[in-house]
Amino acid sequence: MILKRFGLVLLILLCVFVIPFSQQSDRVAGISGLTVEDFKYDHGASVIIKFKLSPDDNISLFDYDKEKLAAVYTEESEDGVTVFELSPEGKLSAYEILQSGEKNEVAITDENSLLKKNPVRYYRIYAKIGALAEEDIDGGKYVNPDGFNEIRNISIIGLPKYTYEQSVLDDIALKDKFRLPYYNMTNKEYEVRIKNLDDYKELLLNSLKEEKKAIKAALKAGDLGKEEAKADLAELKTRLKEAKKNFTMSFTVVVESASGILTFGEYYEAIHPRVEWINLDKSWVYLFSIAFIIMLLIVYKLTKGGKEYFIRPIAGLSAVEEAVGRATEMGRPVLYISGLSSISDIATLASINILGQIAKKVAIYETPLIVPAYDPIVFTVIREVVREAYIDVGKPDAFQEENVFYLTSAQFAYAAGVNGIMVREKPATVFYMGMFFAEALLMSETGNQVGAIQIAGTDAITQVPFFITSCDYTLIGEELYAASAYLSRDPLLLSTLKAQDYGKQVIMLIIIIGIILELMGVHWFTYILQNIPD
């Protein structure tokens, strides 16, 4: 009783202190030993971190990389507050702060996370590469023996780094590397996706406003003549108006061949970026998804109308009944591991669905079921799922709440905890369902050593071999998602498995057609498939 009350007090303390505390540490992760005054994102272009330092503090900020160092600006203000302004143009994956000779690793931040606060909005602009003169081609100097250009790199001059994705350009270069004849490349229109334009625009407007202030100050100080200042201000006004209403950007696309720079693109002075309302790169994914949804709904409707489908047997799932029965006969518990991922992972959701079915089977025999959870949110869900399963089979009293518990969110501490449970409790059956990482073998080998019958299911391809080696049955990939339906034996749920099979048949058909056409020397089909965006 005393222990429980102490726990309650600890909980209240957690509520009062940890929540606001954790928010603070989230804002400035990892900065230690320094009083952080402020940490904010300045319109996506830079991050400003203010440190309040005493005059005795010997502090310097540096990075491992000179390029990164160039992106760090330091500013001293009057009241002893040192301001570090970090520009996202540098890759600030990690840097160090030296304080009185002691190194403090600062755990922020990468280029992308700096821009995360401002939503990434994509725009599209088109760059047309200038036509090549005959002498540029130089009698096939830049053309490989197959008559194709080898594009090594495509880059942009004139735009801030954070406004476009180099990876997109790399993809274009890779795609055209062997496929594009030189005469086609010369007039090709390249599509460049531009992001964070709002930040860029805001920066531009700010700089123009600063310029205006400077002109006024110069006029006041007498450095600038009245007429001159008037003309400058008028010009500035036009530029401001232009920037606000008719925002333009200028840039040049550079294409680099295997032998050096091949050609510059045309110089664009007044590109008006268009907002991309629909992300067309994802259109193929949606097309396929919607086709699959339609197929799934048709199969579901047919099943509801009385049509029966044959579902292939899955050995690992057929063995669940036997595994639970074994635990009952031996009088030992069943251990269920729901994976090491969060609730937003579909493998975890599949694992929760399977747990519901297994908990019902376990509840019927009143065999103890131990479920240590890795993630707090997953824990709250699985506790309810297990409780409901016991209620559902009419055995609410058999549910032992302390057996469904949160263990830890540290990967190897969790593995150690689970191994400890296995060695102490000697479960007769262990289920591993969900997403697993390097700890998979640590747990399943221990399970093997204590003599438990083990059934694993994961979509983590790298962990499948380990489970196959150390477990009695392994559900590979999609079988994990099929398990819940299979165990429930509900014909409507089973119908979705049939839809999955049909989907795979379509993919197989596409692969076979592709192979046949390629063997026949017809390449357009493969070309279309290879050019589907990721």
Partner: protein, 240 residues
């Protein structure tokens, strides 16, 4: 009603979020992709952490009360939990010498010292044990009990040799015996372990991984749809 409201929420939000990655409308990106999702998840997460700590406390308290086997470990766990929480939250930030501070979670705090000198080495120990587990698991699976296991053994041996310098040395030696690269019949190619290893990884291995990948993608989609459309309700617990 207890089941209807969550199902309706899942259906509505599931359909909305299905289309969120497709659109680049600023309001959608601002509010749905970042604000709502991240904030809600964080808020729920905080309450879930409190419930989780309570459950861990309860499990260990029950074990101690019942004096069930190895309950001494439960004392250790509870002491560790209370100690770390107290050091981080309650303990005053007194200087205790050697540049260490009693309270807080800073770089020179006792809390951080315990974490860096106990938790981190223990986790590293667990991770390094993996090497021995792999060795024992590999030994078991490489025993040539049937045709599949024999094939696995041969493939694994080739890949292992191909991944170490020995493989290249063998190939170079055989190439010399063969009369160098100029020889008309290159029988030494069968000893090109690096090349064979790369072929195994690039062709049969990649094909298998992609095949599993197709199935996984399809399974994920089907599971998501089953949950969104309310066909699968196991996650709610119970049947009706």
């Amino acid at each position: 009603m207890k089941r209807q409201i969550p199902l309706m929420l899942v259906l509505t939000l599931g359909i909305i979020y299905f289309f969120v990655p497709l659109v680049s409308i600023p309001w959608v990106v601002d509010n749905l992709q970042y604000e709502v999702f991240n904030k809600w998840l964080k808020i729920i997460g905080v309450f879930a952490v409190i419930m989780s700590v309570a459950s861990l406390w309860r499990r260990n308290a029950v074990k101690i009360k019942r004096k069930s086997g190895d309950y001494a470990y439960s004392y250790l766990e509870l002491i560790g939990m209370v100690l770390m929480a107290a050091l981080a939250i309650i303990a005053p930030r007194w200087n205790i010498g050697n540049g260490m501070v009693l309270g807080g979670i800073g770089g020179n705090s006792v809390y951080n010292w315990i974490f860096m000198n106990m938790q981190v080495p223990m986790q590293a120990t667990m991770f390094s044990m993996l090497a021995f587990y792999i060795a024992s698991a590999a030994y078991r699976s490489f025993r040539a009990r049937n045709i599949e296991a024999t094939l696995l053994l041969i493939t694994a041996a080739i890949v292992m040799i191909g991944r170490v310098p020995l493989g290249e040395n063998i190939y170079q030696f055989m190439l010399k015996l063969n009369g160098g690269e100029a020889a008309a019949f290159q029988w030494s190619r069968i000893f090109d372990f690096q090349g064979i290893t790369q072929f195994i990884l690039d062709v049969p291995n990649a094909a298998t991984k992609r095949a599993i990948g197709f199935g996984v993608a399809m399974g994920m989609l089907a599971t998501s749809l089953k949950i969104i459309f309310g066909i699968e309700k196991s996650w709610l617990g119970g049947t009706e």
